[in-house]
């Protein structure tokens, strides 16, 4: 396996390069800023998908609640931006100036204590990573130490997504309710709503995404990554070999959650608001399908899958809104039944050998042909 990994490394690097050129050069040059901003929004979901590759594709932990972490990251960012937008000068007309408008509408007269740290950007940025990681850590320790896994874990994470959505909607005065936190304007005085700012944020998002992709790649290619795969395939054997399986699972779950949270923060910056509709059950499970379409064991595949499904969604819901759900449902079923390894599997199993045969290079055929084809994660 290690040999085929090093041989595949070249192919993977080529993939990274193609994706980088596409995202950083081709798309910004060929699309107007509205469409590019849309791509930027899709890329924030790709963070979640990349995290899922580590968590689900490699370790076999299916989380149906990644929207929780995406949302927590996004809300942490939105709370900072909202506080900056509701300075005393901007909110003179309120009965209590200096607090966000929705709090004023809900008769709150002072800032709740958990909003106070979000007055400072460094603290807010730390919270973007720390709050979701901590949540994932607590959940992970509680679940994996008790050896709760598989379907049970999936259902519980899904219930958590429901809980957080209900909580956000129900506690309107503290969270902005179903409308979410809207009307975000500036980041340290820099207006994030201008076209220029959107360009810059798009490139920041790309950079963060590639950073996350390399981080996940680094983890998965390391010795730690091997153990994760072993945990997925035969958990008992790893445990009997003397490893504490729960610790590895907690680690990878926290990693996936932290990356999802960065995506959430980038979402808030680029889209200009955050609302519970990106937290709940439906967005969470959609993010899993983005990952599955691209290939649950391929980092590049996850990003490409996210872009394609979202592009399809925009295309379909603009022209045939009726058909979209049929298409999406069919996609879920087809990917699971027919292409468990997603688009990446098609590329490595079909396309590369075909190219290899065309160019007559035996070496490439061997490299692609011996690609690891593990059974789909349980």
């Amino acid at each position: 396996m290690s040999q085929s990994l090093t041989k595949n490394r070249n192919i993977e690097l080529i993939g990274f390069a193609i994706l980088a050129v596409l995202l950083v050069v081709v798309l910004p040059l060929s699309l107007d800023i509205f469409r590019l901003n849309l791509i930027g929004k899709y890329l924030t979901y790709a963070f979640v998908a990349v995290g899922l590759v580590a968590c689900w594709g490699y370790t076999g932990i299916l989380s149906l609640g990644q929207g929780v972490f995406f949302g927590l990251g996004g809300y942490c960012m939105a709370m900072f931006l909202k506080l900056e937008a509701s300075s005393v000068a901007n909110t003179k007309i309120q009965s209590t100036p200096g607090i966000p408008d929705f709090m004023d509408w809900n008769q709150l007269t002072e800032l709740p204590f958990f909003w106070v740290p979000f007055k400072s950007l460094p603290l807010a940025l730390i919270a973007v990573i720390l709050v979701p990681s901590l949540a994932a850590f607590i959940l992970g320790v509680a679940m994996f130490k008790r050896r709760v896994g598989g379907v049970y874990f999936a259902i519980i994470t899904q219930a958590l997504a429901a809980v957080l959505t209900i909580l956000i909607i129900g506690r309107q005065g503290y969270t902005g309710g179903i409308n979410g936190i809207t009307d975000l304007r500036t980041l340290l005085g820099w207006d994030i709503r201008t076209d220029h700012a959107k360009y810059i944020l798009y490139f920041v998002c790309c950079a963060a995404l590639f950073g996350s992709m390399f981080l996940v790649r680094f983890v998965l290619a390391s010795k730690l990554g091997r153990i994760l795969v072993a945990v997925r395939d035969t958990e008992e054997r790893v445990r009997f070999s003397g490893y504490d399986v729960a610790n590895f699972k907690v680690f990878v779950f926290c990693l996936a959650s932290a990356i999802a949270a960065i995506g959430g923060a980038m979402f808030t910056l680029q889209v200009g608001f955050m609302s519970p509709s990106f937290v709940g059950i439906v967005p969470s499970i959609e993010m899993v399908i983005f990952c599955a379409v691209g290939g649950r064991q391929s980092i590049i595949g996850a990003v490409v899958g996210t872009l394609l499904v979202n592009w399809g969604k925009t295309l379909f819901s603009e022209s045939f809104p009726e058909l979209w759900l049929f298409f999406m449902g069919g996609l879920f079923i087809a990917v699971v039944l027919l292409f468990p390894r997603g688009l990446a599997g098609l590329v490595t199993d079909q396309l590369l050998p075909w190219i290899g045969r065309l160019s007559g290079g035996r070496r490439q055929v061997a490299a692609a042909g011996s690609a690891p084809a593990p059974a789909p994660a349980e």
Binding site: G60, L62, L64, A142, M143, R146, R147, V148, G150, V151, Y152, A154, I155, I156, Q158, A159, L160, A162, V163, I166, L167, I169, G170, I281, I285, V288, I289, A292, E322, L325, F326, M328, G329, G330, L331, F332, I333, V335, V336, L337, P340, P376, A377, E378
Partner: protein, 308 residues
Amino acid sequence: MFMGYSLGEIGSIFAMQAFAGLILFSVFVLMALGLAIIFGQMGVINMAHGEFMILGAYMTFLTSHLFQTYAPQAFAGYFFVAMLVAFVASGAIGLAVEWLLIKRLYKRPLDTLLATWGLSLIMQQAFRSIFGAREVGVQLPDWMMGSLQVTDTIEVQINGLFVMTLTLMITAVVALLLFRSRWGLQVRAVVANRVMADAAGIDTRRIDRLTFGLGCGIAGIAGSAFTMIGSTSPTAGQAYIVDTFLVVVFGGAQSLLGTIASAFTISQSQSTLEFFLTGSMAKVTTLLIVIGLLMLRPQGLFVLKVRK
């Protein structure tokens, strides 16, 4: 919070809340029964279970319309026909789904979650295209309307009582089937040890298919009952699905008694808390308590000793 209420009034409030909780309990049990026997037998969580229920609800709606148009004199009894129609429709589609989809995924339970979620999206859109996106309600026959006056301050709705009776009967039938029929014997054998059951000559594939069909059929009946107390819309099934999953997981997957006990606990705590807190906080608190309890007892309330 109890200022200004007399002791008798507090008692009545609790009795009424408990009754509301019992109606919720009935819906939970009806939905969870089908899900639980499928999960217990095959380890498959059917994410489209809510949609099978809504299918039953729409079938009831159609039957009531047919009766109103063609046989208004027999309208009082339409509900029993509707239940049968709902059972057959949901069960038949369940059988087809098992044959086309589920049986190919038995080795990959997590993938079944995703595939059945896809199925639920397709069914929702199909309902929306056929019946429209608006909620539809069923007209109740006269004898189901109104309420019984138990004391001056306590009254119970007849349709609620009817749904409860129905739940009791269906639970009894499922229990009879599981513990007295040949199918039930085979199901219990497969749950205990699939490989040995297979070796002993039980056609496990056939049992799987029957169980899935029966589970979906019960969901259809649940949908029929659901029309008595709520209105039907294409996405109504999703509102209950998370609670139902938790009921099944919390009850212990292979235990009928566990499912009933956990449905009772969850529904009663939710409706009692609703009186003290707002509706959303009651739901959040209940879900968090259940998740907390699951951490303490990952196998659920009632554990069937199974040798793997």
